[in-house]
């Protein structure tokens, strides 16, 4: 007995902007490549603005996705609208492509539950903060799709830290047994707050954790949007066609702090961060686009201007959104507020005064 296993690693676009010959048609697909570039740029500008808002006291804690934009963009671009995204808390690049708005993400981190009431991807899960708990939701949803014979796939994100959590293993294990249409993407950005990848797991790859659950696991260069998109697309279509789940470990680097409440300079060497900037995802795709003549400096300036305006406009809309009435705390706890809780709601309203929003 005994088995051998192999974890392959896919990279199509190198850090210096060269495309591998196995990239195929996508390398010539200007429209698609520009769409990737636009989506990653949008996410990065949003990130900067969100941090600026937090630093000026206008936003709560925020988790930046700086340097990991290719993962969200590559994966979400491979999903169909009817598929389901079960995100972690660093996945706004993917959420934007799903149709979640910048205002919604700002509302969420700004302390307003309405930020998770997405107008567009009505079935997508909200941001998940308790690390590792979300994969089970995706597994359960995938099971529901399979039971109803719906050609839909559940896609979930988790970090390298989360992949050490028991909930991750349990959910993968069930998905393996049920051959659920599930794709789990590990954003291995090297850090679980201050804990480096090497202290998180002795496994050589995180993708191989899938093997123990009877699931295919593979690694991709997470800073290569082409590779991420290729791997995600293959996994999603395999799942849709009854081929079961896949785990994709996307290797990236957390160029920013864990969140705005963190100071990564306390625990990591600035040299390693500087080196990681050499491999970041946006510069390499832009270099390729420029080199191929698919993109110009003027187009880049126009894109930055357009995305910058969109971000500013979203920030203004967020800041001008009045808080909910304090009654909202009670409104959605249950489908109908239990009769015995009405007194508590009345008390809250009385002390909040009027609509309850003045003291909100």
């Amino acid at each position: 007995m005994g088995v051998d296993f192999h974890i392959d690693y896919l990279q199509l676009l190198s850090p210096d902007g060269r495309v591998s010959e196995v990239a195929g048609d996508v390398a010539q697909d200007r429209e698609r490549l520009v769409a990737f570039h636009r989506a990653m740029t949008r996410a990065r500008l949003f990130d900067s603005k969100a941090i600026a808002l937090q630093r000026t006291g206008k936003l709560g804690t925020f988790a930046s996705a700086l340097g990991q934009e290719a993962i969200g963009v590559g994966v979400a671009a491979a999903m169909r609208a009817e598929d389901l995204l079960v995100p972690s808390y660093r996945d706004h690049a993917a959420q934007f492509l799903r149709g979640v708005t910048m205002v919604e993400i700002l509302l969420y981190w700004g302390g307003d539950e309405r930020g998770s009431d997405f107008a567009v991807p009505r079935s997508d899960f909200p941001i998940c903060v308790p690390v590792g708990t979300q994969i089970a939701h995706a597994t359960g949803a995938a099971y529901a799709f399979k039971l109803r014979r719906e050609p839909r796939v559940a896609v979930s994100f988790i970090g390298d830290g989360g992949a050490n959590n028991g909930g991750f293993y349990e959910a993968l294990n069930m998905a393996g047994v049920w051959r659920a249409p599930l794709v789990v993407v590990i954003n291995n950005n090297g850090w679980a707050i201050s804990t480096p990848r090497t202290l998180g797991s002795a496994a050589e790859t995180l993708a191989q954790k899938a093997i123990a659950a009877g699931i295919e696991g593979r690694q991709v260069d997470g800073n290569d949007v082409l590779a991420v998109h290729r791997a995600a697309g293959e996994a999603i279509e395999k799942a849709r066609n009854g081929g079961g789940p896949t785990v994709i470990e996307a290797l990236s680097y957390r160029l920013g702090d864990h969140t705005t409440a963190d100071d990564a300079s306390r625990y990591r060497d600035p040299e390693s961060v500087r080196a990681a900037w050499e491999r970041e995802p946006i510069a390499r795709l832009r270099a390729y686009l420029l080199e191929r003549g698919h993109w110009s400096k003027e187009q880049e300036s126009a894109l930055l201007k357009e995305c910058g305006e969109e971000v500013e406009s979203a920030a203004s809309a967020y800041l001008s959104e009045p808080p909910q009435s304090c009654e909202a705390m009670f409104e959605h706890l249950f489908a109908t507020l239990p009769r015995t809780m009405r007194r508590q709601c009345e008390t809250a309203m009385r002390f909040a005064g009027g609509t309850g929003s003045e003291h909100g």
Binding site: E113, F118, S123, F125, A141, E170, M174
Partner: protein, 326 residues
């Protein structure tokens, strides 16, 4: 009509709802071919298929988690946790997700699931099989917590729990699973989840209880009646949100309140009821509100468990003291 045990009534309710609603699925350890270790899902996989009655891997946190994913995407999962001592890994999923999915998405996503588990001591079970965790769940905003006491109530309350649009933790007293039979009409009639039951009317002392202790309280009421003391027995049934109005009305009539539960005393759910009665019915009270509960100890293994569970004698004693006070 059939005379059934409480565990058979659970099985009946599950079967009824699976036939009525194709979105109802069952999941748990050994619930399929084996019909559950207590046989609460006996015959259901044969009738409704392995896709709707899933034998899951042994992973309680995962069971709760996948049930949430199912519930949020259109199914109505009923998850079984095999024994109460194994329910603790589900608390992460139940409190962080099931209880708050509706609230945190402003009702965009909801979680109509039931987490069923046997609970309580008294069947000489091994370690970690005799816990009474109801207060842990009752403390969590967004969950309903239900504990049936009779076959008919178990049937009607479980139907209500499955049909409820929000998550319900349904704690079944193992000790009552096969204690007695009663007639249960399998007509699909649900019982309300916002009302307690007056199991016995009486003018002297209100005794509020739930779950397995209901059996001892009913026996205590018989014993007290022989001494001329009429106990009004209130079966709380739904602990969260609970029907305080029926309790206050009863205490208004009797002026005395004793609360009986098997779970440990400190921060048990009885404390909540005692506080509410003190706050809102103080001027009706003729005697202090008291509790007869499990002790603040680790629930003992089988040789000592009879000394742990509130006995008929302890309940009668508390009732007599309430009578002596005024």
């Amino acid at each position: 009509m059939a005379e059934v045990t409480l565990v058979e009534a659970i099985d009946m309710a599950l079967a009824h709802e699976m036939a009525r609603d194709a979105s109802v699925v069952l999941l748990g350890e050994d619930i399929g071919v084996n019909g559950g270790v207590f046989r609460a899902t006996n015959g259901l996989q044969k009738r409704y298929g392995a896709e709707r009655v899933l034998d899951t891997p042994l992973a309680e946190g995962g069971i709760a988690g996948v049930a949430i994913g199912m519930a949020a995407t259109g199914l109505k999962p009923v998850a079984e946790i095999q024994f109460s001592g194994f329910i603790y890994p589900t608390i992460d999923q139940m409190i962080n997700h099931a209880a708050r999915l509706r609230n945190r998405t402003r009702a965009r996503l909801t979680c109509p699931m039931v987490l069923r588990s046997p609970c309580g001591a008294g069947i000489h079970a091994p370690e970690h099989h005799s816990e009474s965790p109801e207060a842990l769940f009752a403390h969590m905003p967004g969950l309903r917590v239900v504990a049936p006491t009779t076959p008919a109530r178990a049937y009607g309350l479980l139907l209500a729990a499955i049909r409820d649009p929000d998550p319900v933790v349904f704690l079944e007293p193992t000790r009552l699973y096969r204690l007695f039979r009663e007639e249960v009409v399998d007509d699909g009639s649900a019982l309300p989840l916002d009302t307690c039951f007056v199991s016995r009317e009486g003018r002297d002392v209100t005794v509020v209880t739930w779950g397995a202790s209901h059996a001892e309280v009913m026996s205590a009421a018989e014993a007290a009646a022989e001494q001329g003391i009429e106990i009004e027995v209130i079966d709380l049934a739904t602990l969260k949100p609970y029907d305080v109005d029926t309790i206050l009305a009863s205490v208004g009539k009797t002026g005395r309140c004793v609360i009986v539960h098997e779970a440990p005393r400190t921060a048990g759910f009885g404390a909540e009821i005692a506080a509410e009665v003190s706050e809102r019915a103080l001027y009706s009270l003729l005697a202090p509100v008291t509790r007869v509960t499990g002790y603040d100890v680790v629930v003992p293994l089988s040789r000592l468990e009879k000394h742990y569970m509130p006995s008929v004698e302890r309940i009668v004693d508390a009732v007599q003291k309430a009578m002596e006070a005024a």
